[in-house]
Subunit: 363 residues, 2 copies
């Protein structure tokens, strides 16, 4: 039954996907005498963790019960008191944990604290699933940078636009809706100023009933963004930030009064240092970034090995022409190809989505 | 029940796919007193049509029975006597036909002949399915040219090779097996001399138990093919033809003695006139061609609108570089994109096959 309850905890965790960064979204379940008496998932940053939600819902019934939780409970004071303390206080008899939390502040110490209090602890269930579920958080903790997702909409022949630059729309409505869903689950949507100016993109998450909006981050070395762009004019409604390196006092003031947050970053000429950009995002406690970059900026992220996952949408179009995607990200020989691990294929009406985790080919 | 028996006839027809060109592969079924008493599918060119196979198997039991057949029975002397005559002679009472045969020698006259003999005839079942099943034949009859299939193996980013030219293998074993299946079902596999010389491709159908081999046709304007290529050295075992335009008596004799058939075609410099090539294939009574052409030759077929169906295999590789497929087949604007009708998506392990019928976009 342990596996059954933990599988349920994984599903409960999904309710908090995208809402609690930089905390991992965790699911918890309290079971007593073979009955589920309460459940909980991580609340937004600064609010209750999953275990606390479940414990509060169970009240005094938690005494003598078992707790199932996808990630090792925390044992340190962060924005909230340690979960281990609450678990012990509630009289939980047994704790079943999916995976250890690699966060150095926890890293087995949560488990040890529970065991020291006489609680029976089992660890190691659905490790692969949970590691994938918490991939943003685990990257953030282990690599000390946000998890970076590249998305691209291509024609069947691998072009990101027709030769005259037209690209609306290569992909269909279902594909574009899917992108809005991804946007609603990440912390940051990143684009270059060129594509924002050219496409007048809003970059927000337009989904019925969606409340969570990502930070819209534009890399704009010389502050070239159009003041009348939809992105700037909507900056009071949706979180918006521009990273730049060349000062322009007037434009800076205009953007600030439009509601845009500004952040100076090291850069040279027409480029910002991307590693500095990613480091700043990390320091802002954001653990996931969706790249909605044009081809050139995309190539730079690929060159730096800064793509953790990719979503490629194939529209039902053959375009021909010279706008082949990633042409400058030249792997030279087939033995040096990037392959996608855990590749997934989804059909979206007449479009196809292929996603996976880029990895150096082993062939 | 008519639809049920005709659906069965469609399946029976599949047994003869690829073996009877330029005849359509047809399925037939004889039913008497609610029982199937015999069935048949078209035999190789010059041998029995489906109806005759079924009638022979039924013998005298055909008297008073119903015949189900996917295509209108022929009423003319071709390589074999008219089927209508045999149907009337056997005493068939009712004939249920999928679609009319647009071949001008038949075109409703088969149906009329049967009706004139007092046989009840119903026509028009599964028209869309049968038209797709017989797409090679229908193109041959209606467009007076073979049906042309383009296949391509691409990386996920739409490259047909890495920048150094290496392309073995972009697609996986399952994809390559699929190509062998297509080869076994077409009359002609067409390639340019460059890809034959570069890849030393055999271009035959290597499938367990497969007996039918396509004609391997190489476009080789100046007779540049290597005499020691696997294609030439296997020409006594597998049908092989070279089309050229520039005479070279010595090479010609060498190729002929290796078993290669040679065919002079109009051409200029490094190119043969593709419409002349296709017309010659038509005159040879071949109704289907699989293009296994390199990128440049492929682009020429696309430019001429000579692609009736395409199979694009996406290998699990990202290659980058300048080898983007169909770059010179430039549609310029997204509104001029080619779209695929009846698009199909199949997953072949970590590869994806997208196929369909190219059509001018209506967007």
């Amino acid at each position: 039954m342990d596996r059954y309850y933990l599988k349920l905890a994984l599903r409960i965790a999904e309710r908090s996907r995208g809402i609690c960064s930089p905390n991992p979204f965790v699911g918890a379940l309290i079971v007593k005498d073979g009955k589920i008496i309460s459940e909980g998932s991580t609340q937004p940053y600064g609010y209750d963790h999953a275990e606390i939600v479940a414990l509060k819902a169970a009240g005094e019934h938690a005494y003598g019960a078992s707790l199932y939780v996808t990630l090792e409970p925390c044992c340190h004071f962060g924005m909230t008191p340690p979960c281990t303390e609450a678990i012990i206080k509630a009289g939980i008899k047994r704790v079943v944990i999916g995976i250890e939390d690699p966060n150095p502040k926890v890293a087995g110490k949560g488990i040890q604290t529970l065991r020291n209090a006489g609680i029976e602890v089992s660890v190691g269930f659905f490790e692969e699933e949970i590691k994938e579920q918490l991939e943003y958080y685990l990257c953030f903790i282990l690599k000390k940078r946000p998890f970076i997702i590249w998305k691209s909409a291509l024609s069947l022949d691998g072009k990101y636009a027709a030769s005259d630059g037209s690209s609306r729309w290569i992909s269909n409505l279902a594909s574009r809706q899917y992108v809005h869903k991804i946007r609603s689950q990440v912390d940051v949507v990143l684009a270059g100023v060129k594509s924002v100016n050219d496409d007048d993109a809003l970059l927000n998450a337009r989904l019925a009933g969606n409340l969570k909006q990502p930070l819209r981050l534009v890399l704009d070395p010389h502050l070239d963004i159009k003041l009348n762009s939809r992105l700037v004019t909507s900056a009071h409604s949706y979180p918006t930030m521009i990273m730049y390196h060349e000062d322009n006092h007037t434009k800076l003031k205009q953007l600030e009064s439009a509601g845009v947050r500004l952040h100076k970053i090291y850069g040279q000429k027409d480029e910002l240092a991307l590693t500095a950009v990613i480091d700043e995002i990390y320091k802002m406690n954001f653990y996931s970034v969706l790249l909605e970059a044009g081809n050139r900026l995309s190539e730079s992220f690929w060159e730096l090995g800064l793509v953790d996952k990719c979503f490629i949408f194939y529209g039902n179009k053959i375009l021909g022409g010279d706008k082949g995607v990633l042409s400058n990200f030249d792997r030279q020989n087939i033995d040096r190809a990037i392959i996608l691990k855990k590749i997934r294929v989804e059909r979206l009406h007449d479009n196809v989505l292929i996603s996976g985790y880029p990895s150096i080919s082993q062939s």
